[in-house]
């Protein structure tokens, strides 16, 4: 391991990765890797997570292709120094801000979007001229093996390396000095990463999660809008890796008088998208492993939580499948309402007035995304200014990530 990292540092020192032509060649090679291995990628995702090709394309392959293409088209602009204004006092001075690579970068990716979360940061690191060590998650072993075997065939081995392994490898990597660490995962491990980085004053980017709520205020408008709302909620909960996504909708907030309408719409949509029951479930991923499966099943063990199930609830331990499940007003102090769910369970919390959702959200820690289905411009402004989250998306779910530039 130490040898690999020493090689990455040597390579960076030679200055080869700084050249624009090197960066472009690597990005093009990455695009080729994706284009020429689509089927293997689909296969690995199906093996690790039961993802269907459409979901895999939409959330992983397609996103990556777009990212590489976009980066290639903007690279020269991004690399160029930016002129800065100089006050008269310093005439005739000139000033500019110049982007420079940091050096040797460590990327930890997560298991739920094992390609996107490994290769999207890689695109950034390469385009900025760094050398990279990528440590994919061993909880998605087929995807990890694919990356370990395939990346060396396409990219510059001296500058981009992939290391297989589990938490112990991760810990060893964190003892070493990096110029940047990019981590996607849970807040618990995020703290460990940052604490390790602190010893070397290494800057970090931490992509974590939270309980991302969806506020629903549009059911009393036209039936077509209500239908679209339901589709987007269902698509935003069970569409991405059956809810195992940092930006999946975690829970829903709706006015109590509209709850039953919403639940009926959601049930219809779930049946149409994914099937009538757990035996005929399709177009949906499975839970990644036994540990996560048990964790989710345990969330439903609390009798008050179990009582609040209004749809679904069936599980298949052998196949690691939990069917799309809706709960109505589980106790607010239950684990399902205090931990990030990261799975196919959707609590619906009812309020007297939809405006109360702002205080509700603020009583919890800042989520990664707030989704709000509303056409009330005043309410939109209030949500924007009175809540804090990584992102806010109005009237849709997930698209801000998939199609963001």
């Amino acid at each position: 391991m130490e040898k690999s990292i020493a090689e990455l540092r040597e390579t960076f020192k030679t200055g080869g990765t700084k050249s624009i032509s090197w960066r472009k060649s690597q990005l093009k090679a990455l695009l080729q890797l994706i284009n020429q291995n689509e089927d293997s990628i689909f296969k690995a995702l199906d093996q690790d997570l039961g993802k269907s090709p459409v979901e895999s394309y939409r959330d992983e392959v397609g996103v990556l292709k777009k990212s590489v293409t976009y980066t290639l088209s903007c690279l020269e602009k991004w690399v160029a120094p930016k002129k800065a204004e100089v006050p008269l006092l310093f005439f005739p001075a000139k000033a500019e801000v110049m982007p420079q690579p940091l050096g040797v970068v460590l990327i930890f990716s997560s298991w739920n979007f094992p390609f996107t979360l490994a290769l999207d940061p890689l695109i950034g690191a390469i385009s900025a001229g760094n050398t990279v060590l990528l440590k994919p998650s061993d909880l998605a072993p087929a995807c990890m093996s694919f990356l370990v075997e395939t990346i060396p065939k396409y990219l510059d081995n001296k500058a981009v390396k992939v290391l297989a392994g589990g938490a112990d490898i991760g810990e060893r990597l964190l003892q070493l000095k990096w110029d940047k660490i990019f981590f996607t995962g849970s807040p618990r491990v995020g703290r460990l990463v940052m604490a390790a980085a602190a010893k070397h004053l290494t800057p970090v980017t931490l992509e974590l999660g939270g309980k991302s709520p969806a506020i629903v205020d549009t059911l009393s408008t036209t039936p077509s809008k209500a239908k679209v709302t339901a589709k987007r909620i269902v698509g935003g909960k069970w569409g991405p890796c059956t809810g195992q996504a940092c930006i999946a909708i975690d829970y829903v907030l709706v006015e109590e008088k509209l709850a039953s309408t919403l639940i009926e719409l959601l049930k219809k949509t779930i049946k149409r998208f994914y099937g009538e029951n757990i035996k005929s479930l399709k177009n949906i991923s499975r839970i990644v492993n036994k540990h996560q499966f048990q964790r989710l099943v345990n969330l439903l063990k609390d009798p008050d939580v179990a009582d609040s199930i209004v749809y679904g609830g069936s599980v298949d331990e052998e196949k690691l499948v939990i069917e799309p499940t809706i709960l109505l007003d589980p106790p607010l102090d239950s684990e399902i309402m205090s931990e990030e769910i990261f799975g196919p369970l959707l609590p619906i919390i009812t309020l007297k007035n939809v405006e109360e959702s702002i205080d509700f959200i603020n009583s919890k820690s800042n989520p990664l995304v707030i989704y709000a289905f509303t056409e009330d411009e005043t309410f939109k402004k209030r949500i924007l200014s009175e809540t804090s989250s990584g992102t806010v998306t109005f009237n849709d779910s997930m698209v801000q990530y998939r199609y963001s530039i």
């Binding site: 700084k18 459409v54 394309y57 698509g235 849709d396 963001s404």
Partner: protein
């Protein structure tokens, strides 16, 4: 009675918790988000400086024997300018930025909204105790945050003046100063902050970041390093020398994070350079620089002893070519130049932060780049040259927080340039709009409409949908048409 007073006087974990709770309540109540509140606080800062300049200068003289000119210009005037810029531009900075959207999310609109982070902790340093405490305030206030300031106990007169002035002029329900040393700082670091900005050294920075890691608090660390100056031949030597002197001894007597730490020049040019220094230094500070009123003193006996250790090391003391005099009772060391100290000497292996200037000589100017890049990345690097190719190579090869060609330290005063380090010299940046940005969260907002809901996003998933999705994400109109017509492979 006595024990009650004692209780109040100790600032412990509970006191720190209370402070944060109070500030968080003010923040949650929306006090600091209000534009008028931000304006009033910034204006109060200006008033505070206008009405107390003599007291500020006196405190800086007490703590550092800082000459009045340095205090007035480098601390007070710079701060006032920063404040006025923020007042002028704040409304514009606060406005959401429109972001482009792509075909794939049509029809939609997007923007990036700047929101305050919440309650921030500013830990400042002793060398520019006024500037480094209040400059972060400007960004934090403009961005709408509540603030706790922990000024350095090594500059105690300024620390207590700051505590008094901030309490008198600013809104103490949202902005507080906590005086103290290690125990108080530790108590503060146990708390959960929304951002911590620390200015100081690498050792404490690691402690700050480790404490921040427990709460996933983002940090800005403004540190230091050995800021090199490369001096080429064929330049206006007199101007170059003066600018180096101004950046070294004119900046708190070398006790500044961006002071030139050491010089690299060619063997051929060294003698001329040393002579130029001797000439200009005498002009600036006279024949007895220990008596010059235009030089700050060394801040305290710890640092005095540290600097003497660097100077008196055997292999180094013989290399002094100018200066070397010291006055222990007044904590003064004369401007000192050393020629060709060994690379493995103490003085070449730690940030000097004092009035000692080693000159290292090399054969060719180009050799200086490797010498610099073999060490840790400094906060600043300087080069004096008229050679265009050398300038380009310098900018390309040397990684540092900031670079200046043909001057030293002045980039600090440039609000359009981000001021911050890289690697061991720090992370994050501020000044001008960068201050506002550093204390803001840039929230991404996407507005979607209900019209044009594409069924191809949703299950049941079919080959046709896969084909269309590929075409849509690929962005080509032709591809989309082909997919719609069923002409493309899934």
């Amino acid at each position: 009675m006595a024990s009650e007073v004692e209780k109040k006087a100790v600032f412990d974990i509970d006191s720190a918790k209370e402070v944060v709770q109070e500030l968080r309540a003010s923040f949650v109540a929306g006090k600091t988000k209000d534009y008028e509140w931000r304006r009033t606080q910034l204006k109060a800062m200006l008033k505070m400086m206008d009405e107390n300049e003599p007291q500020i200068v006196a405190a800086l003289r007490d703590d550092l024997s800082k000459p009045e000119l340095e205090s007035s210009i480098y601390e007070i005037a710079m701060l006032k300018n920063s404040c006025k810029l923020a007042l002028k531009k704040m409304k514009h900075w606060m406005m959401p930025e429109k972001a482009k959207t792509s075909l794939a999310t049509f029809p939609s609109s997007a923007e990036i909204v700047s929101e305050p982070l919440g309650v921030v902790l500013v830990i400042s340093a002793w060398n520019y105790p006024f500037l480094l405490s209040l400059d972060p305030f400007i960004g934090a206030i403009a961005a709408g945050n509540a603030i706790v300031l922990k000024p350095s106990e090594i500059s105690p007169a300024t620390a207590s003046l700051l505590a008094k002035l901030v309490a008198n002029y600013m809104d103490s329900s949202c902005i507080k100063v906590v005086e103290g040393a290690v125990p108080e700082t530790t108590a503060l670091l146990e708390q959960k902050w929304d951002k911590i900005m620390y200015t100081g050294n690498g050792r404490i920075a690691r402690i700050v970041m480790a404490a921040a890691a427990k709460h996933l608090t983002p940090v800005v660390l403004e540190l230091g390093g050995k800021c090199p100056v490369i001096v080429d031949s064929g330049i206006n030597l007199q101007v170059a020398t003066r600018r180096i002197i101004a950046g070294k001894w004119g900046c708190n007597n070398g006790q500044a994070c961006i002071s030139p730490d050491y010089i690299i020049t060619t063997k051929d040019y060294a003698v001329e350079l040393v002579d130029s220094f001797k000439c200009e230094l005498e002009l600036f500070y006279g024949k007895n620089p220990l008596e010059s009123k235009d030089l700050s003193r060394v801040v305290n006996s710890n640092h005095f002893a540290r600097l003497l250790k660097l100077l008196d090391e055997d292999k180094v003391s013989s290399k002094i070519v100018y200066g070397g005099e010291r006055d222990k009772s007044n904590l003064k060391i004369a401007p000192t130049i050393l020629l060709d100290v060994p690379q493995d000497s103490l003085i070449m292996n730690e940030e000097i932060f004092g009035p000692l200037l080693p000159i290292i000589t090399i054969d060719k100017v180009e050799d200086s780049f490797d010498l610099i890049t073999s060490g840790a990345k400094p906060l600043a690097a300087y080069m004096f040259t008229n050679n265009k190719k050398l300038k380009e190579k310098f900018v390309e090869k040397v990684s540092a927080g900031g670079l200046v060609i043909n001057d030293t330290t002045v980039h600090l005063a440039e609000p359009t340039l981000p001021f911050g380090g890289v690697g061991d010299s720090g992370m994050g940046a501020y000044h001008g709009k960068f201050s506002f940005d550093t204390f803001s969260h840039k929230k991404a907002v996407l507005y979607r409409s209900f019209a044009g809901d594409a069924p191809l996003r949703y299950p049941p998933y079919t080959d046709g949908k896969l084909g269309l999705l590929k075409a849509l994400l690929g962005g080509s109109i032709l591809g989309i048409i082909r997919a719609l017509m069923g002409w493309s492979k899934a």
